[in-house]
Amino acid sequence: MGTFKHGIHPPEKKEISGDKKIRRFPFSPYLIILLSQHIGRPAKPIVKEGQEVVRGQKIAEADGFVSVPMHSPATGVIKKVGTSLDFDGKMTPSIVIEPYPGSEQSVQTGQDVNVDALKPEEIVKAVQEMGMVGLGGAAFPTHVKFSPPKDKPIRTLIINGAECEPYLTSDYRVMLEQAKRILRGTKIVLKALKAEEAIIGIEDNKKDAAQVLKDTIAIDDSAVNFIKVELLKTKYPQGAEKMLTKALVNKEIPSGGLPADIGVIVSNIATVSEIGELMPKGQGLIERVVTLSGKGIDNPGNYLVPLGTPLEFVLEQAGINDKARQIIFGGPMMGKSAAYLEVPITKGTSGIVVLSEDEVIPRNQKVYPCIRCGECVNVCPLYLNPSRLGILARNDEYDKMAEEFNLNDCFECGSCAYVCPSNIPLTQYFRIAKKVLREGRKRKESMVGTPEA
């Protein structure tokens, strides 16, 4: 069974929502469509206030290559084209839609597309048109990822079904319930990438999902020879790109490089499933499967939530209870904790975990000095020395961290902080150090002046 060295075993907590089938979520009284819910330039609105829109209609278009359009998740009226608070508390361009009462759940827009007739470049263009971004959480525009440099041919498409974050089960349900879509999507993506094979990597705590996919592939003669399903050891962060390539093709992504450098593209399984579903219908991405979990809510489960649904409405529907203490967008290892309830569900929201009093880290936990136990060194999946990096961070030696101790390879998986018996917030230190270095570099560039200026 494939895996990587080091890593951790946090309690999985998948049993809370794992057996709950994907169910549709009702429309909230208003939807906030952030125009910048992906990495890159915000989408440009193409609707006006007061205008009526139908479910699935494009309401904003991509602004350049690294950008994707937005579609209306509901039939209703545009209330506002302006700005709303985003997750980090900044005002960001948005469109607010008020769905009509009794708004249909079916999608009327979109024209069937004969995907088989599309050329690879046309598929990539169609992926952009549907507003697709990485649904695993990074929200990187998928068509950009599918356009690797010409001199780096792609051999293998790795499809990430590891779902190594505790609590989250949305990908698990997608695999169990949408195997045919995944198969269709995989074929489309393989064609777009001109890749030879696809490997679907799934942690072995989801053997049933792997079996469903295997069975679906086995009865398809056109797929059985180049799409395979591989079990991975259940270990965090198995679903990280760097860990998946090591586990499935036994190659390391070069430091500072991309998976394309070793002939690989990694895509999340939910992304592939949506491509398989939406592209033949010519439709855009307007909703996604979101896991609602944690002891702070009474109705955990996996829901198909319209994009733009405000957190407050989600929590009401999920039955938030008195024990709720912390709300996390995403999983508890890498997710962000929410500061206010107006923030909407976006394309990158794979789950909302509401932790209760007994699940959260105690407040004001005492931080001890590093006792050099070496736990962090022995769990870091990149073989960094978090202990040393932490000491350097305390002394503000950020340059040394980056130059001598490979700070910028760290993808903030949180394993080191998870195990640290001294409660040192290592991951947070590294996040700050990276940001300071990034901004310092920007400042230096602006002082020297850009080459064009």
Binding site: Q326, P369, G374, N385
Partner: protein, 336 residues
């Protein structure tokens, strides 16, 4: 939901954490040292109790005062000073003058730990720094042995325990010597069974080998002790002593004798494994363990002293920073 005020926590990821903290680890080490200390008291009586209590109390007191004077947050509740105190007590002979033991406790914390910056910053095992000081300062007292299982051990102190400070303790009837000294200087071997079950003379924590081993296994199973260190020490000692024993069984002791004599068990299980003063990499811990094992064998067989555990560990402690650098892993995605 709107009716009630929701008080939310805000943190940066990760939002979950393993519940094992420094305090939990240290507390468990103290738990593991209790059976060892109880056996020492059982074997040597109230003298043992007095010595262990003295070193422990003075270690904790020293830490308390130093932290207080420094205006820092109180640290004695992390149990690390208690561990240093208990371990130091266990390395001393039962009849050790209490005022010297107190001095040892003070030196361990002040010189061995606090001078470097407190918990986490010291290079050498604080208990062994204290013991090293005592050995240099009071070479006679620290090698004056009293018999175990003395009949009056629960009612009377050894008179040397109560020696007044800075006066030469009166040396009373001294039982022969420790098994290692007996072997080295009198070519007299002790049988392994007596060693394992503490039927011999020696320092407080030297004699109950089996109990120390069991307590170490408890900690290793709970992942609060790196088993690689004692296992590599044992492996090296077993291999070399077996080879020498086969060459000349008259002159060189058996592996079992080597393992269970002197401070080897206590040192390998409880002192070499001190997290602060041992390497952080897995490969490094093997190298460190092997180094300690080799030094013990060399000092015991060729050195002028009967015992070598303390020096072997202190010397290896000093090399830990170098070991950490030499065993640094290649970072993922780089070519070394």
């Amino acid at each position: 939901m709107n009716s009630k005020f929701l008080q939310l926590d805000l943190r940066s990821s990760p939002h979950v954490k393993r519940p094992v903290t420094v305090e939990v680890i240290m507390r468990n080490v103290v738990y593991a040292l209790i059976p060892v200390s109880v056996f020492a008291v059982y074997a040597f009586g109230i003298s043992a109790l007095a010595v262990i209590l003295t070193t422990t109390v003075f270690s904790i007191l020293t830490e308390y005062i130093m932290v207080k004077v420094d205006g820092r947050e109180i640290t004695i509740n992390d149990y690390s000073a208690a561990i240093t105190g208990i371990l130091l007590g266990l390395t001393l002979p039962p009849g050790f003058p209490l005022w010297m033991a107190a001095l040892g406790g003070i030196i361990s914390i002040a010189l061995g730990k606090y001078l470097f910056g407190g918990l986490g910053f010291n290079i050498y095992n604080p208990a062994l720094v204290g013991r090293g000081f005592l050995q240099a300062a009071f070479p006679v007292s620290i090698t004056t042995w009293h018999p175990a299982f003395n009949e009056n051990r629960f009612s009377e102190f050894f008179s040397s325990n109560l020696a007044a400070p800075f006066l030469k303790p009166t040396v009373e009837a001294v039982s022969g010597a420790t098994p290692l000294a007996a072997l080295k200087f009198e070519q007299k071997a002790t049988d392994a069974f007596s060693l394992m079950f503490g039927k011999t003379d020696g320092s407080l924590g030297e004699t109950g080998g089996i109990i120390i081993l069991l307590c170490g296994i408890y900690l290793a199973v709970r992942k609060m002790l790196d088993w690689r260190i004692p296992v590599s020490i044992f492996a090296v000692v077993i291999i070399f002593s077996t080879i020498f024993n086969m060459i000349n069984p008259e002159k060189f002791p058996s592996a079992l004798f080597m393992l269970f004599s002197g401070g080897l068990m206590l040192g390998a299980v409880f002192m070499a494994t001190d997290m602060v003063t041992s390497p952080v990499t897995k490969r490094g811990t093997y190298i460190y363990g092997i180094l300690i094992g080799l030094l013990i064998v060399i000092i015991r067989i060729w050195g002028g002293l009967p015992e070598g555990v303390m020096f072997a560990i202190l010397f290896s402690n000093g090399l830990v920073p170098v070991i950490n650098i030499l065993t640094k892993s290649r970072v993922y995605g780089t070519k070394k």
